[in-house]
């Protein structure tokens, strides 16, 4: 779906067009679910979070003001829903066992390394993890990521930097040992 189409659809949904909203959910469900999955690392939790996010979307779609990309706005919604959801469940995201690194002709060694990287990502403090997710995994600009996390652009840059430093240190250490 091209940008203009998407924008029209969002506008129509904001105006109360149920069909447009249905199309919107159909279109963006995948985006939401994939991101929720990456955010919490667990498919069934992600389904619940996505469901909540879709419901919230119904109520708050009119609040989207077009200042940032719709996906960034969605990510923000998903993160908030995810936090609420885990709070309501009284637990934290468990291991990211649903996530895999897909790369054709990757060796099993690379696979294991990838798994370690993903696990390490989930060991990071929450703010850093979210920043890395948005910037490195989703390819958002620092500005967009700042919008999605509701913080300053500098904070994102700093968090990504910190995260990189930590990851490097961790794997450096492992290399030293191993």
């Amino acid at each position: 779906m091209d940008k203009q189409n998407a924008a029209n659809m969002i506008k129509a949904a904001q105006a109360g067009d149920a069909h447009a909203f249905e199309r919107l959910i159909n279109t963006y469900y995948d985006v939401i679910f994939k991101f929720a999955c990456k955010w919490c690392g667990n498919a069934s939790d992600a389904e619940d979070i996505t469901q909540d996010a879709c419901i919230k979307l119904a109520r708050f779609i009119c609040k989207y003001d077009g200042k940032a990309a719709f996906t960034s706005w969605l990510y923000r919604l998903v993160i908030n829903c995810g936090k609420d959801w885990y709070r309501s469940q009284n637990r934290h995201p468990s291991n990211p066992d649903a996530l895999e690194y897909v790369q054709a002709d990757s060796t099993s060694e690379q696979q294991i390394y990838a798994k370690q990287v993903i696990n390490a990502l989930y060991q990071l403090p929450e703010g850093e993890k979210d920043a890395v997710l948005l910037v490195l995994c989703q390819g958002l600009s620092h500005k967009e990521a700042a919008y999605a996390l509701g913080c300053k652009e500098n904070t994102i840059s700093w968090r990504v930097h910190e995260a990189r430093k930590k990851l490097s240190a961790q794997f450096k250490k492992e290399q030293d040992y191993g």
């Binding site: 109360g16 149920a18 909203f21 249905e22 959910i25 159909n26 469900y29 995948d30 679910f33 994939k34 999955c37 990456k38 498919a43 069934s44 992600a46 389904e47 619940d48 996505t50 469901q51 909540d52 879709c54 419901i55 919230k56 979307l57 119904a58 109520r59 959801w85 309501s88 469940q89 649903a98 996530l99 895999e100 690194y101 897909v102 790369q103 390394y113 990838a114 990287v117 993903i118 990502l121 890395v132 490195l136 995994c137 390819g139 990189r164 990851l167 490097s168 794997f171 450096k172």
Partner: protein, 730 residues
């Protein structure tokens, strides 16, 4: 360098595939929420009425946290528009008192249950205008009590100075953001008010009802009613806001009542047997809640067949039933007659066959209410008592995943089975895993050719395990049926009860569909009628009646709309039809117009009168109709035929075969007539003439008979409830 590698990895993280079921559920929920948001907006646009807050505060929400927040938000508002708020409160209280008093006698009984005014036009068509009228009268007559309540409520907006002061202080500096916050809180409050702490997916069921503008609990029900009513009361008289309408999400297949048919056009009527009783229990539950059931929920034949009639039973297994026919005057239309055709299945006298039973239980979070999983457990334990020690039982559950709770176990090891039931608890989400597959696997694993192999499914709603397409599921069940594993369905709960699917499954699985609303219903289905529910004596039972145009000018089959068959299907053994268990009775009622009496359908002006007369021979001229029943024995695939001519002497009213009985001669016939009348009245009374609930009560009362379990007495009680419920309607 490592950074690049890691970045590459992070960029290429793959997530699991999307579950289409989950997507659909989320879409449904989101659409429901979207609708309610739009409705709220429409209402807000019409008038800036702030009564929601005041009312929801009065509703006595158990969530104190939410309440507190709401109150804060409210106080900030009342600070601004204090006088309006007070007025609105006073107005609201009067209405609350009015409606409260109004609803109390009707909803009090079922207050812990979900209230769904059905979408039926009969029951809710325009409840709001009526309520308005009632509110006005009540608020006049009940001013006194309203004032008492007002006193207790009114001080609240003004008499909690501390938070208000705080609001004042803050209000000076941060007025705008605070207002925004209040707005947000209000919105969250709305969400939370409806979506209580259920989060799991399969609670699509539960959550859906909550998010939609339906009322999950009686408190909320009245609450919503108040909202709706107060809107009406406060809106300008010329604008009628789109009033609140409760939408039950129970799904029933849509059908219309059979019409009168001219014998000249269509002399043959064909239908399949139906021994299900789900419709009766569902109707009873709705009536106990004080609402009329939706019309599609009333399947007349299921109401009639809920009761046991004392028809003559054969003792021979090979011809498992014999028809008995009674003719009475029709109470609905003068000049018409009712032809009751009853069959009763042969009852086991000796040893009951072995059974291999798999319970497939829905244990998703939505089953976590007293009328669901606990009732399921108790019902299943009851069923154990009707099984033999040698029978095998296994338990499979589905929720977050499908799993085997109990491997096939002999009933003699009762303690183990009961322990397995007791361990079950509802919770978690429904991933919609392969529950039914697993159940069939268990049944096949322990398949016994000489036993009754049956899966018993107990669930509250959407059957979204594994295959969720209805047609696909039907085919799946049908294939398994051919292998010898049958499926029975027990429905529980309400609000999202998917009757449509349940019927389809049970019919294709050669089983019964029952709806369990109380423990006594469980007892009836699983203990008293265990043999009927568990052991089929005949399958694919079809009825075909050919009317003699010389004696009958038109006929109408009462009920069996969902079971109609084509004329050619009767002799086609491949066509599936209803099954009859040991001791089941099936009653079909035809309303017929004897030749010569005034007809509903105008006769054809250019009809072929001569031809019919030519064919009439002396032999058959006494026949009213000719009844044919086809059935297959459980293990056979070729059908057998029973035929019987229904004869009446032309001049003598008391012929040995069939006579025009007076009521009272046969109480069973009379009672069946009463039930049929009731069911038709519930469906709108298109064909019942002037007959009302009172006449049904009189008719049924006189025919109560022995009634050892009190079912008939309960029916009469139900008619009374229906009368009250219908009086509430406009």
């Amino acid at each position: 360098m490592d950074d690049n590698k890691r970045d590459h990895i992070l960029k290429n993280i793959d997530t699991p595939a999307i579950d289409e079921n989950a997507k659909k559920r989320a879409l449904n929920l989101a659409m429901a929420e979207f609708d309610s948001v739009q409705k709220e907006k429409a209402v807000e646009k019409e008038k800036k009425f702030q009564g929601f807050q005041i009312l929801s505060r009065l509703m006595g929400n158990s969530n104190t946290e939410t309440n507190k927040r709401k109150r804060n938000a409210m106080e900030q508002r009342s600070h601004k528009k204090f006088i309006y708020g007070g007025m609105a409160t006073a107005a609201a209280v009067i209405i609350v008192a009015g409606v409260g008093l109004n609803l109390a006698p009707n909803f009090g009984a079922g207050s812990q249950l979900t209230q769904h005014a059905s979408i039926d036009t009969l029951s809710t068509g325009s409840a709001a205008p009526l309520n308005k009228g009632r509110i006005e009268t009540l608020s006049q007559t009940r001013t006194e009590s309203a004032l008492v309540e007002q006193e207790s409520f009114a001080p609240q907006p003004s008499s909690s100075p501390a938070p208000k002061e705080k609001a004042d202080q803050l209000g000076g500096r941060k007025h705008a953001p605070q207002k925004k916050q209040a707005e947000m809180q209000r919105q969250y409050g709305m969400i939370e008010g409806k979506a209580v702490p259920m989060r799991s997916k399969d609670e699509a069921t539960a959550a859906r009802t909550m998010i939609a503008p339906t009322a999950p609990s009686s408190t909320n029900f009245t609450g919503h009613a108040h909202e709706a009513d107060s809107m009406i009361a406060l809106a300008p008289a010329d604008i009628m806001p789109n009033h609140y309408q409760d939408v039950g999400r129970d799904k029933f297949s849509d059908f219309t009542e059979n019409p009168f048919k001219a014998v000249a056009d269509e002399p043959v009527s064909t239908f399949s047997a139906d021994v299900d009783t789900a419709s009766y229990s569902f109707v009873r539950r709705q009536l106990n809640n004080g609402v009329l059931p939706q019309k599609d929920a009333v399947r007349i034949e299921e109401l009639i067949n809920y009761f046991d009639y004392d028809y003559a039973t054969p003792t021979d297994k090979s011809e498992p039933f014999k028809p008995s026919v009674t003719l009475t005057e029709s109470p609905w239309n003068t000049g018409k007659q009712l032809m009751h055709i009853g069959i009763k299945g042969y009852e086991f006298t000796g040893e009951q066959p072995n059974s291999n039973i798999v319970f497939l239980l829905d244990v998703s979070g939505s089953m976590n209410s007293p009328d669901k999983l606990p009732l399921v457990k108790n019902s299943m334990k009851m069923l154990l008592s009707s099984l033999k020690p040698d029978d095998t039982v296994s338990i499979a559950v589905y929720a977050g995943a499908a799993g085997t709770v109990l491997e096939p176990t002999k009933v003699s090891d009762k303690a183990k089975i009961i322990a397995a039931f007791d361990r079950l608890s509802a919770g978690g989400s429904t991933a919609g895993a392969a529950g039914i597959n697993l159940a069939y696997q268990l049944a096949e694993q322990n398949f016994d050719e000489n036993a009754v192999n049956r899966v018993i499914l107990a669930t509250d709603g959407d059957f979204n395990v594994g295959i969720n397409n209805r047609e696909e599921l039907k085919d799946f069940v049908e294939r398994k049926r051919e292998k010898g594993v049958f499926l029975s369905v027990l429905g529980f709960g309400q609000g999202n009860y998917n009757d449509d699917m349940m019927q389809a499954l049970a019919q294709n699985g050669n089983g019964v569909a029952a709806y369990i609303d109380t423990l006594s219903e469980a007892r009836k289905v699983l203990v008293e009628e265990a043999t009927s529910s568990l052991f089929p004596i005949a399958k694919d039972v079809k009825f075909q009646i050919e009317f003699n145009p010389e004696r009958v000018s038109e006929y109408r089959l009462v009920g069996y709309e969902t079971r109609a068959l084509n004329r050619e299907d009767f002799n086609n053994d491949a066509v599936d039809a209803g099954d009859i268990g040991a001791g089941h009775s099936v009653t079909a009622i035809y309303e017929i117009t004897p030749a010569g009496s005034p007809t509903m359908v105008d006769p054809l002006r250019y009809g072929k009168k001569g031809e019919a007369a030519d064919q009439g021979s002396t032999d058959v001229s006494d026949d009213i109709a000719f009844l044919k029943i086809r059935y297959k024995l459980p293990k056979e695939n070729v059908s057998r035929l029973i035929t019987q001519a229904i004869t009446q002497e032309k001049n003598g009213p008391h012929c040995p075969t069939v006579s025009l009985c007076d009521y009272g001669i046969n109480p069973d016939t009379q009672f069946a007539t009463a039930v049929a009348s009731f069911a038709q009245i519930l469906k709108g009374g298109k064909y019942t003439g002037n007959m009302g609930y009172d006449a049904v009560i009189t008719l049924a009362n006189a025919a109560k008979g022995d009634d050892p379990f009190g079912y008939r007495a309960e029916f009469i009680q139900m008619v009374r409830l229906a009368k009250t419920a219908s009086d509430m309607q406009p």
